[in-house]
Symmetry: C2
Subunit: 328 residues, 2 copies
Amino acid sequence: MPSPPSPESPATALIALDWGTSSLRAYRLDPAGRTLEQRHSPHGITQLPVAGAEGFVQALQLLAGDWLAAWPQAPLLACGMVGSAQGWREAPYVAVPSDFAGLAGRLVTVPVGSGRTLLIVPGLIEHREGLPNVMRGEETQIAGALALQAVDDLGLIGLPGTHSKWARVADGRVVAFDTYMTGEVYAALSQHTLLARTLERGGAFDEAAFRRGLETAQSEAGRRGPLSTIFSTRTLGLTGVLTAKAQADYLSGLLIGHEVQSVCRTLGAELQGQAWQLIGDEQLCRRYQVALRHAGVEGVRWISQATEAGLWHVAQAAGLVAGRTGLP
Amino acid sequence: MPSPPSPESPATALIALDWGTSSLRAYRLDPAGRTLEQRHSPHGITQLPVAGAEGFVQALQLLAGDWLAAWPQAPLLACGMVGSAQGWREAPYVAVPSDFAGLAGRLVTVPVGSGRTLLIVPGLIEHREGLPNVMRGEETQIAGALALQAVDDLGLIGLPGTHSKWARVADGRVVAFDTYMTGEVYAALSQHTLLARTLERGGAFDEAAFRRGLETAQSEAGRRGPLSTIFSTRTLGLTGVLTAKAQADYLSGLLIGHEVQSVCRTLGAELQGQAWQLIGDEQLCRRYQVALRHAGVEGVRWISQATEAGLWHVAQAAGLVAGRTGLP
């Protein structure tokens, strides 16, 4: 149970939530948009304490009930899967290209009790080449990265993870984005295929094995694509080249290498010299930095605290908090 | 329990076994190489009735003990994972390019009791582009296809399955081959990722959905590769384009489409007008025929009974049975 806020606690201008599938993060921000405090719980939308709307109320109360009581005037803003059809209240996708004022103008509301309301940021949808693509949560992180870095010209933002997103931004808008299910494919292959029989996960990062995977993805053999190259994880084990532990990072390098290759020749084409940024888990982003350097993309920056910055700037754009956002 | 052979049973020249990971098939062949009888059991090498060498003896006795007793002179020949390091006796891989006389000269033996011996066909290994690749069992099916079709010039043979193999043959030899883990990737994605939440397996074949997957793989979006395109299985569901049932065959078309695209631009390049053949499960091979036609490869033949034909012709090449093999 969090300790109650002391009477000297600084003013809270916004209570911001990053509410995903498997976790809930809460940020308490001051009137300058600085994070005063952050907390997290495992109560993602698929892991609520009880089912239904009451589960969302309880999860919020458990994590931040004392904040709600101490700052009854602070607006509440959330991003992520909480706004999906399986979430608390669906926030319909906004089509790209969209600026962040566009997102801020499409917030949906849901009552949280005691006469208060939670506002939810919508996700983005794109219909390039006849195929729909969606993101939910990442649009807010991208808003944060743009605000933090004041990058408003052409650039590429990568958000590695279970489902990696790559977004092309121009003039402060997301103009196109792609999804790569790399993280989840890695988990499925390394646990539920023949590769699982020999591959040993969980050791220290084996950078040599990871780089070997990158090299395979970039080699002539890599042209066959991941459906084929992944089998080399096994055969390099069979022939004694890769130990069980090395196979895990080899496979990681292979898949991340294929993803990065693909991004470089599609969404990232013609952007080689421009600002590339990464948002997400620091260790995972390091792997992507290695992979991008291997593919010839240098100077890729890692952006931290993009989520809370994004929620703050969307709140500004929506007029929930004072101040003028740096976003278009 | 199989009924005992009647006294009028025709002569048996060979007892041939296809002994894989999850099943065991036995064929009884006459002196002309015709199949007189076939049987199968679930006693693949990972599902033996008891562990260790005794498990292999028991599995063989259970399935074909009456054959062994009735034809004590018939040679026994097996192919498949029974010759792997996890099998009954390891038959070291033979490097490509290899002709089938080369395989026949490298059979390994293991005693099966009563003074009899089982001979095991070795698999093939290739070290193209620094990456090892292996097959075990498929080399025998390829031998069978070559013998049945008397194709001894340039051609491509596809063996779709859990791990699809594609072999380039020239002058009756396998000169190069690739592996695609398409079947196993499909199973892992459709059961152990986000896609499993909406995708519904097991319905009748939805050819329209399958073709839609092929089209995505071949489209501009397909250039991003399967790590990216597979996400469209979900988004086409989210946007109401694909039903839960249709998602299964869409994903199947997507993955098979990527595999076929890759084969066409690598191992199959410059072979578009030449003999392409498919060996394997008939329903699955039909999907591949549709996919190949979609990619512009016409007239692909499906070869049945390749395994037993292959075992027969390897037995001929090894001098286990009379007659001259049509193989080099």
